[in-house]
Symmetry: C2
Subunit: 182 residues, 2 copies
């Protein structure tokens, strides 16, 4: 999977062959085939892994922080820092969604839907608690996730600030965006 | 250029050949060669066009609206609506930057830098006028542009709300993010 991420990120998914992946991973094409019967199966494994990780982050954070402000701050800090640190894999996960097989895409779409619904619920919770004010919960949740995901597009090893600092700055911007005033 | 955008968007830049582009445009490879001596020259033309358009939007908006709140609202409304409406071309422009020839990339990078500096200046202007409060101007400018650009990744013909509505909602979210309270 690591070899495939590198190849997909540098050459693009479509220009990478299963033979390229096998060679980069130090395997024979036949050995690769045992684990991944098609190139899109490798992409699916990478994509599902990334999406499950995000869903778990959101679930864990919400469960751990009953206060919606604390939960949102922690969520954005970690989500943003991860997309900065792991921008190569995050870019592949986000930009090659259309290359997934239809049934695989459905699995990923369901993970994205569940994640987005949790973020919506968190914002709604904050609105009900009187700490957040937003024009539209759906669009606000979209914007929160979008800000984090897009970090992977523009962040590079020479970018500053450091991932954790960026996470903290973005958390403050997001809280402000959601109408929170400390 | 339109034919190339379609091909780059569906197959990816690396898997598209100049012959594919010529065929889709109803030209001979030789005729295409007269205008674009390499595939990367087609990508550069598309990318430069997109980036010049954005720079012009920011310049025009700032010149037209002396009030930083009005300027930022108009800028985000139009920037977001464009990325929603023209998500196919915007996606190619944003996601294939690394495929540009080094000297072409420098031209695009300069356009991006100029655009980002104008957005930073606008935020600084708002901070000085006492209408914006941000933890870090550089990160705030990055977040404003990032929110708009990322619309092209997730927006599809079936997405809602409509581009103009999304633009207005995002403009309110951005003003709030910048600490503006009406």
């Amino acid at each position: 999977m690591a070899a495939a991420v590198e190849l997909f990120a540098t050459r693009g998914y479509h220009a990478t062959t299963t033979r390229d992946i096998a060679t980069a991973a130090g395997m024979s094409p036949a050995a690769l085939y045992v684990h991944f019967p098609a190139k899109s199966a490798v992409l699916f494994a990478i994509s599902r892994h990334g999406h499950e990780r995000t869903l778990k982050l959101v679930q864990t954070t919400v469960a751990k922080h009953p206060d919606p402000v604390d939960a949102m701050r922690t969520l954005v800090e970690q989500f943003v820092a991860w997309h900065a640190k792991r921008h190569v894999i995050a870019r592949v996960v986000q930009h090659e969604l259309t290359a997934l097989a239809p049934e695989d895409f459905e699995v990923v779409r369901e993970l994205r839907r569940t994640t987005e619904n949790l973020v919506r619920d968190l914002i709604t919770h904050g609105v009900e608690a009187g700490v957040f004010t937003v024009p539209d919960v759906r669009t606000a949740a979209r914007a929160v996730l979008s800000l984090g995901i897009d970090v992977a597009r523009w962040y590079s090893p020479t970018s500053r600030p450091a991932p954790e600092v960026l996470g903290k700055q973005y958390a403050e911007l997001v809280l402000s965006m959601l109408g929170y005033t400390s």
